[in-house]
Amino acid sequence: MKYLSKTDYSRRRFFGQMSCAGMGYLTFVNSILNLKGMNAAAMANSAVSGADDYKAIVCVLLAGGNDSYNMLVPSDNTHYGEYSNTRKNLALSQGSLLDLSYSEGAKTWGVHPSMGGVRTLFNTNRAAFISNVGTLLNKTTTKENYDNGTNLPIGLFSHADQIQQWQTGIPDQRLAKGWAGKMADLIGDMNPNQNISMNISLSGSNIFQTGDNSVEYAIDPQGGAVGMNGYNPDTDWIVDSMRTTAIDSMLGQYYEDIFHKTYINVLKNSKEAFIEFNEAFENAHNFAPGDFADNPVSEAFKTIAQTISVRQALGFKRQVFFMTFGGWDHHDGLLANQAGMLGALSQGLLDFQNAMETLNTDDCVLTMTISDFARTLNPNSDGSDHAWGGNALVTGGPNLINGGMIHGNYPSLTQGAANPLEVYLGRLIPTLSTDEYFGEIAQWFGVPPNDLDLIFPNIGEMYTPSAGSYPIGFIKN
């Protein structure tokens, strides 16, 4: 297993600094061309390419396991028939599906009837699906592997493990560090702003954005950074003045005790980041009242859009936003409950994509969904249980993504011997790995192809990363 060694780190961090500094960069490159990965680093590390370079990833975690075979559904008679025969009472009616302008031969699809926004995005090439993606250790996982328990992700079908693996990208270990955190370790130095993390969380502390040398900056999904009420170094009021001085003094001390130190450091970093963040955020783009729907998902997307609108004032060239949208564990009442939630997701994605067009950032901001797993095709009365491979959704501008397409192979939803992917109760072996899904995004974001295995140690089992090509192809360039 390959980890980011200290040497790797210092190398990457050094390059990051070099790129930003600009001066003497080529001289430096020429002198150490013999170092592995150097060219790739120079190509991918596009901080050298110009001041306007900005890329952001917005990762939406659908926590609990989205039943994504009811999000993206076959709509032609043959395949809809297979779907409804397997899903029985969980099947959406064929007529209710919102048709997508995409087909493979006679095979057509529709989205869930509550996802009008996503249909609009998809049919205008601003959304795409990644089909049957999931946690895998190699590309040849079979039913036999499942039956024998060999070469499988640990804790299949278990929330805690699978939600972790979708954040770490490492399905054979239990780790507390995620791939966005490790990206920040590698290329976070591209950001002129080194006081506020490259990783902004709207859902607090999380694995996805925790790296070896970096951690998320958590903001309030309904209004940005959280500061201390009454904290004001310039106040004339004696109460706030004494309190502010005392807090500054507490946070300014060096604490030997690691628990005290950790407790204080979080506060100190938060306080400092707030001051800087808030100053910029006051000039955030004023979206019109109707631009974002009045629900928590759209409100969180709005906060992200506002943050992106002040990226230059804040000094960011790379940002990863993370939000958790929970409540997808529909063991009960799937049809009723999922409809409202998919509707909120769909509306939020549409609102956000429109906002990115307003800000002229739609071709540099990629939104992606992750989820613990898909759910059993078979019902357990009116709900479904934890399963495996499922459908993910990406949105972005038409010059950024190959939208209007279903990438990967949408699997057969039949059951039994006829379907080599179905292991039990309608659980499907993924045909695309998280390595491929995440690797493509990470490479676009600026991680050199040769260094992807520092983040995703199993990636070599899936494909050989190389500059200028993507394993799935949902990103254009």
Binding site: R243, I247, S249, M250
Partner: protein
Amino acid sequence: MRKRFLPFYSDPRYCYNFPLMLKYIPTLAVAWIVLPLQLDSQNYLGAGNSDGISVTASSSHLESIWIDSANAIKTIDGSGMLADYFDVCRFLNQATLGFDSSHVNSILNSGLPPMQAYEAWIDAQLAGNADYLTPELNTIFEQIKDSLSAGGVHDTLLPRRPGWQEFNYAWWSVHSFTEDLLRHRVATAFSEIFVISRFSDLEGYGDGLADYYDMFLCNAFGNYRELIDSITLHACMGHYLSHANNPKTVDSLNQHPDENYAREIMQLFSIGLYELNQDGSRKTQGGEEIPTYTNADINGLAKVLTGLGYGGTLPHLTSDPPHWGMGLWEADVTVPMIMYDVDLPPIQPWWDPDEDQHEDGPKTFLGHTITPNASGMVELNEALDVIADHPNVGPFISRRLIQRLVKSNPSPQYISDVAGVFNNDGTGTRGNLGAVVKAILLHDEARDPSYQLDAANSRLQEPLWRYTHFLRNVEKYNPNGLYWNNNYFVFENIHQDIFASPSVFNFFLPDDTPHGDIQDQGLVAPEFKLHDARSSVGYINASHQWTVPWGQLMNTWLGDYMDHTEVDWVIDDLLPLAEDSETYLNWLDKHILGGRMTDRTRFIIRSALNGFNPDYHWHNHAENRVRVGMHLALLSADYSITR
């Protein structure tokens, strides 16, 4: 490092006074050489008083607060250091959600040697009466409905049952004054292990939340086997993890048993993912850890769990008898679920003969095949026996309880000792939770003062319990004698409340650890999940609200219908103490920090207090000192970190 002290504390006479001896160390230069401690983290009341200014000033204060006043002589001779007092504070900080000096003094004045005094206190708590929420909830709910009626709300629009807010009113009302301290401490620990959450339909079922909590109170010192039985059959758990109305396999419908509870009862409530040694470490086979179960085991257990449904209805909501598939809305959620299984002669005449929802046929899990029985409930009991008898349960549950009560990183020996008590309480009984709690609190690692020397023995106090501890130590006032709290403002800031976790995985998992030094040392500190850039500042803002602007401690959303439902902080008794900064600092250290105030924190707060100068007439220096001093004490690392 601890071994250095063995000659001291191995003698029981010294053991109890050990903190006192530690507090002496800085005054003995020679001790610095002999004991190269990281005294940065040590607390010693009085050590910051040597500048003499405020110490002498305090001698002019009232006799009644003499014990709280600093005095140079007392500082030097140790009588002002309250070492015994702080040792009891440490114990009560582990055993309660908040206590005041009366509890400390009752232990100090018991006349027993320390360990016996602690044991006697635990025994008395074990033998005491449970202070249940449901009676309080019912009273509160009636009172609210009366107020709504009086305020013009039509009968048909009155709430049909209490919701999460009324549950919170009841909890805070009870907890503001209860003497049933240890049982509530254990119940809240259970609430973070056997998790249900109001972030589900349960937000509308305050009656169910209260009954579920009362079930914890009832079983806090009972037997694990009965506890897991009550949890499994509780309507709220049945709804939350969806094994209520869980039907058997129907091939024609492609229908299979719901696997949710079958998985989580094993993963989270009993045995966990890997086979464990008694000390909590994972067993290995050929270098590999050994999974406790596979998905086939989950499927086997899921079959056993089919057929459970709600067992009672509320007559004011429905005239139907309980029946299969009935909704939560009409259920009496305080009645355990029943098995809808007509293989047995119906014990209820209204059972529909078609309601045979329990799966027939063989059921195997964890290497055990359930003895086929006509009664699904008999099969379920056998399955719960299999789970409760699994050797993992002792170390699994012990570690979690130790983490909630004492420390984040118990040694393997600590886990093993407690698990041993779980396995056999000395009378041959397995799963005696009262004995387990006692073993946790009386263990060397909890009681021996030397463990306070090493940061590795720390725990970040959960923010909610920082709040409750503070509340128990200040004078609260409501003109109507209502101590209700919906806690919403605090929750919004600290992201913690009872039954308010985002998922069944609680606010944090036992192995969670924050990025940085703690993780680098291979330690865990799960509570730091509640201390991120947002919630850490949120806690400061919440404590600011309690103390500085108006001192509003608790509140409700009933202001449109009821007068004066907010609870205020009465600071009158503290005002004379605050005339002298040092005296108030000593009070804060004693009552809020339990002796954990470090020199540097003392220095910082003192500077702030002294900024409120009595010579200025345009502000109330004593009130400002009381408020700001309390606020700073609450947000200090000293207060939040315990060991």
